[in-house]
Assembly symmetry: C2
C-alpha cells in the first residue's frame, strides 16, 4: 500500500488536523468528534445545511464548509458512515433558530444514522428536514444501497442549496430546492483502477490491465459491467448517454455539466472527457450553461471519472452563481 | 496504459479543446498553435506575463491564464518544451505596449527556446524580460537541467507577479519581483509511483512496491535517493528540512506553504502532509501566513507530493492576496 499516511487508524483525524490548520479562516474542526463547522456558525436566522458520509471522498464534504455552501460536515471513517452522535452535534452547532437541512447520500448506513440524528435533534426542539440524493443511474440496488446511489449531484446540490440558505430562506423552501436539484440531476462513473482502503491494506477489487468498470460506485461497488479499455470518447458516451436518456434531456435545454475525477486521475484527462461530453451534448442541441471540471467527489486514489448533468433553470443558475467561500470551491468573494 | 485519452498524439490538443469549451469566459485557445491567451489580451499599458513548458503538469500553466495571473501560456507536447514560434506568438498576443515577461522553468529546452523567442520578439520591437525559476533543492544538475530545476515556486511566482502586473507596474519592476520570489522560494518533491507518458506507453521509471523516490523531478527525473517507504511524517521531514536549511529560515519568519499533489495523490493525503509540515515549521517558530494545498504542478498521474516554501514579506502577501480569476485559481472576484 503506497500512501502518504502515518497509520491507517489516524488518516481521517490527521487530515482533519491539516484542514483545520490550512483553513482556520473558514472553518472550526473538532478533530476528536470529527466535525467540521463553518467558522461563524450558528448564523442566527439562517437555515443550517449539513452533510456527511464516509471519508475518502475529499474534498467532499469538509471542503465544502463555508459561506454559501455547508454549515457543517461530519466525516466518518474511510468509506464508513458517521455516527448519529456526530450528526446530532453538527446539527446543534449550526442551528441558528431557523432549522437544519440534512443532505444525505443514499447509502443504507448514512440513511439510518441521519434518521436517528434527526429524531434526536427534533426531540431537542430543532426543526430538521432531510433530503436524500440518489442520482447514480448505473444500477438500481448496490452493495451498500437500496435504490440508486447518491453521488456527484450531492456536490452541486450543496452549492446551489447553500446559496439559497445564505439568503435567509425558510427551511421548507431550502429543502424543496434540494429535492428539485436531486430530481433534475443524474450521474454515472467509471474506474480504470481500484482504490485501497487504508485499514484494509489491499485493493477493494481487482481489474485486469486491459479492463475498466463502467458504472462504478464511489466505494468501488460494482457497476453495470466490466469491459475492455476504450478510448475516452467511447467512455464518455457510455456515461453520458444513460444520463441524458434517464433525465429525458431535450433539444434546447441547458445543463450544468460536472466532469469529476475519482482521485487518481489528472486534470489533463478530465478536460479530454469534457471535450467529448461537450460534443455529445452539442449534437443533441443541449447547451452547457455552467460547468465544473476537477476532483470533487473522489474514491481515494481510484483512477477514473464520473459525469453529472443537472438540468438548469434560472433559479438553479442564480444560486449556482451565488458567492461561495469554502476550502474547495470559491468564487464571488 | 490506463488513461482517459483517445490517442497519444491528440492528448494535448483535445485537453486544450476541453479547456476552451469549459472556460470561454476567461480564455481564448488557439488549439493548432497550442496557445492559451487571456480573453481580454492584450491589455493596453499592462505588462504581459507569459509562461510555458511541456504539458502533463496541469493545471500549470494554461489553468493559470486569466485576470491577475498569466496573460498567456504555451504548452508543448507532454514533458516537451514548446517551440520558439509558440512563445513568440504568445508574446505578440499579450503585448499591450508595456513589454512582456517570460517566466521560464529551468530546463535546457525551455531556456533555449524562450531565449530564441525573446530575441525574435525584441527584433519586432517588443520589450521582453525573462526570469528563470530554479527552486528545486533536490539536485544540482539533472536529466534535463543544468543547475537546479524550476518547480513549485513557478506556480506561486505566477500568482504574485501577475498580481503586480495587474496594477500597471512597469516591466522592470515586474521582473524584479519575479526574481525576488524565486530567490525566496525553495521546493522538493517525492514519488510513490512513476507516471506514463502517453506516447511512450510505459512507465518512465520503475519503483519497487516498497520503494519511493525522494527529490524526484516533475518529469520523473531521478532525485536524491531511492529509499524504503516511510510514514508521511518522515517523508515530510525529508522534504521540508532541506528546504528550510537551504532557505535559511529563521525563528519568527513567515512563509507561504504549498503542499502540491503530483497528479495521482488524493487530497486527503495532502492534508496529512500539510499537518506534518505545519508542526515542523511551528517547531522552528516559523509561521505559515498563507497556504495552498492541492494538485497544481503535476506529473501526469504520478502519486507523490512536493513541498514549496516561500519566505513572505508584506509585498509578497499583498500580491498573493490580490484578486485572481483563472480556471484553476480564483479568489477576490
Amino acid at each position: 500500500m503506497k500512501k502518504l499516511i502515518n497509520t491507517p487508524e489516524n488518516v481521517v483525524k490527521e487530515a482533519l488536523e491539516g484542514m483545520a490548520a490550512a483553513h482556520s479562516d473558514l472553518i472550526r474542526v473538532d478533530v476528536e468528534q470529527q466535525i467540521v463547522v463553518r467558522k461563524d456558525a450558528p448564523v442566527q436566522g439562517k437555515v443550517g445545511v449539513i452533510s456527511g458520509g464516509g471519508s475518502g471522498h475529499e474534498p467532499m464534504h469538509g471542503g465544502f464548509v463555508g459561506r454559501g455552501m455547508l454549515d457543517a460536515a461530519c466525516p466518518g471513517a474511510v468509506f464508513t458512515s458517521p455516527v448519529p452522535d456526530q450528526m446530532l452535534e453538527a446539527t446543534r452547532a449550526v442551528n441558528g433558530g431557523a432549522g437544519v437541512l440534512h443532505i444525505v447520500k443514499n447509502y443504507t448506513g448514512d440513511i439510518l444514522n441521519f434518521e436517528m440524528a434527526a429524531e434526536l435533534a427534533q426531540a431537542e426542539g430543532i426543526e430538521v428536514e432531510s433530503v436524500v440524493t440518489n442520482d447514480d443511474v448505473a444500477v438500481q440496488d448496490s452493495l451498500y444501497t437500496a435504490g440508486r446511489r447518491g453521488v456527484g449531484v450531492t456536490v452541486l446540490l450543496e452549492k446551489i442549496v447553500g446559496g439559497l440558505a445564505e439568503t435567509g430562506a425558510p427551511l421548507s423552501q431550502v429543502a424543496e430546492l434540494a429535492r428539485k436539484v436531486n430530481n433534475q440531476g443524474r450521474s454515472m462513473g467509471m474506474a480504470l483502477t481500484s482504490c485501497t482502503v487504508p485499514a484494509a491494506g489491499k485493493p477493494t477489487f481487482e481489474l485486469g490491465d486491459d479492463e475498466m468498470e463502467i458504472g462504478i460506485g464511489i466505494h468501488g461497488e460494482p457497476g453495470r459491467r466490466r469491459v475492455k479499455l476504450a478510448p475516452a470518447d467511447e467512455i464518455t458516451e457510455m456515461l453520458a448517454n444513460p444520463i441524458i436518456e434517464d433525465l429525458g434531456l431535450k433539444s434546447g435545454e441547458q445543463v450544468l455539466a460536472f466532469v469529476n475525477g475519482m482521485g487518481g486521475t489528472p486534470l489533463i484527462e478530465l478536460y479530454i472527457v469534457y471535450h467529448a461530453l461537450n460534443r455529445i451534448l452539442k449534437g443533441k442541441n443541449v447547451s452547457i450553461a455552467r460547468n465544473l471540471v476537477g476532483s470533487y467527489i473522489t474514491s481515494l486514489e481510484m483512477a477514473g471519472c464520473s459525469i453529472t448533468l443537472v438540468r438548469l433553470d434560472d433559479e438553479l443558475i442564480k444560486y449556482w452563481d451565488a458567492p461561495v467561500h469554502t476550502p474547495a470551491l470559491r468564487w464571488g468573494v
